[in-house]
């Protein structure tokens, strides 16, 4: 397996840390005036999403992780697993409920997502930044009220609940920022 040295730790490089694949976020070179140099590294565990900080001796190496982010199309949920397909190779991947986590509530069939593959297994799913979803349930809209800052909850076709302006009605198509879960605008 390829080894990667601390001076090659750049943003996005994937390494193995305590048995899990991790992605490097930041790498700060720290050196006392006269002495051993260190690298203070921020990594994201690709399985759990947790961010950890580790200090290494400069020049130390970690095993490279065979992990990459791939664009896959979400096909369907069979009740147990979420199914994806590569639009280029047509290879199919299944993702468990645990792995997909909170991302599930933003996924509409046919959406293109970023799926992290490790040793060709899906270990994480990032939904598209903006998701276009239909309102299935919300209190009746207040006619003409397009300016006041009021908001109300609305349930979307995927089951996600978001805060929306008062004028939104059932059947409206909304654009949602999936990173924050915030309403952006009425879609087409």
């Amino acid at each position: 397996m390829a080894m990667i040295s601390t001076n090659e730790f750049k943003n996005g490089v994937k390494v193995m840390m305590d048995g899990d694949p991790c992605s490097i976020l930041e790498n700060e070179y720290v050196k006392p005036g006269k002495g051993q140099a260190f690298n203070r590294v921020k990594l994201r565990n690709l399985k759990t999403g947790r961010v950890l900080e580790k200090t290494f001796k400069s020049g130390d190496t970690l095993e490279a992780a065979d992990a990459q982010d791939t664009e896959l199309q979400y096909l369907y949920n069979d009740g147990e697993m979420w199914n994806f397909m590569s639009p280029t190779t047509y290879e199919q991947y299944t993702v468990s409920k645990e792995t997909i986590g909170d991302s599930a509530k933003w996924l509409k069939e046919q959406d293109i997502c970023i799926v992290t593959l490790w040793n060709n297994n899906a270990i994480g799913v990032t939904p598209p930044i903006f998701s276009i979803l239909k309102v299935t349930e919300t209190d009746p809209g207040i006619r003409g009220d397009t300016a006041t800052g009021g908001s109300k909850p609305a349930t979307l076709e995927t089951g996600a609940v978001v805060r929306v302006p008062l004028f939104i009605n059932i059947g409206d198509i909304l654009k949602i920022d999936t990173r924050t879960g915030e309403y952006i605008s009425r879609g087409k």
Binding site: K31, P32, K34, A37, F38
Partner: protein, 309 residues
Amino acid sequence: MSIYQGENKIRTRLLLRAKILAKVRDFFAKRGILEVETPLLCKATNPAPYLSNFYCDNLYLQTSPEFAMKKLLAAGSGDIYQICKAFRKEEFGRLHNPEFTMLEWYRINFDHHDLMDEVEELLKYTINSSKASRYSYQEICEKYLKLNPHKITVKKLKQLAKENDLLVAGISDDRDTWLQLLFTHLVEPNLGIKQPVFIYDFPASQAMLAKIRHHGKIKVASRFEVYYRGIELANGFHELSNPREQLRRFNLDVKKRCELNLPKIEIDYDFLAILSKIPRCSGVAVGFDRLLLLAAKTTSLNEILCFRE
């Protein structure tokens, strides 16, 4: 090689460098200190294990002009300063570049406290810094790490590193390395937030090329470092002139290099031969690019250097 990174425009960078260079030269001219040049290519180099050398055709690119400048001092140069390039392989980061500019000077009949006064004046003159504060290494460790660096055991240092999530794999049981790990991570970021801070009287084991003296029952190195806005800016010594003691320290470095599987470096016997002839003096090296960084109030060399690999 023509990549420059960051926001600052090239012209802004060039003007700043030229302005501070002129101020530095003016500062030394007013004091009658002579500007000198020494070779960048050297037959011998400092064996310190933490320095990694560029080496080609039996010649080293200097990691600092220290040995050559001391040869000038021993030959009767008088007070001297130099602005030159220094090279340290593998050092790359926000505050490091493998090729960098160093400002180094030597003052005859100064001890390290006299030289700290002069460094403070240089900082005021070049980057308008405010009045500096001074702490001994022991005082600053007591303040931020709650420990006496001259007495603490390696075991306790490791425990403290663990408590602070700083446990690093593969470090030997070397007290100084553990002290430095804690110092760089837990002390340095707090130093010189508003005004420059001088730290002096380091543990004798971190003396490098400085004199060692007794402070009560403890041996301390007459060495200082300067920090400003969390950045280590300079290192100074009350210079050791005892060749026997210097050889003893070089031999320790050579042994350590061997243990760490680092390239072997021959001891510079020419340097040892002149060492007893250098006058009583103190010397300091300032990272010139970092001085510019402080002048520009930025936090990365990406905003200062015009060429960055």
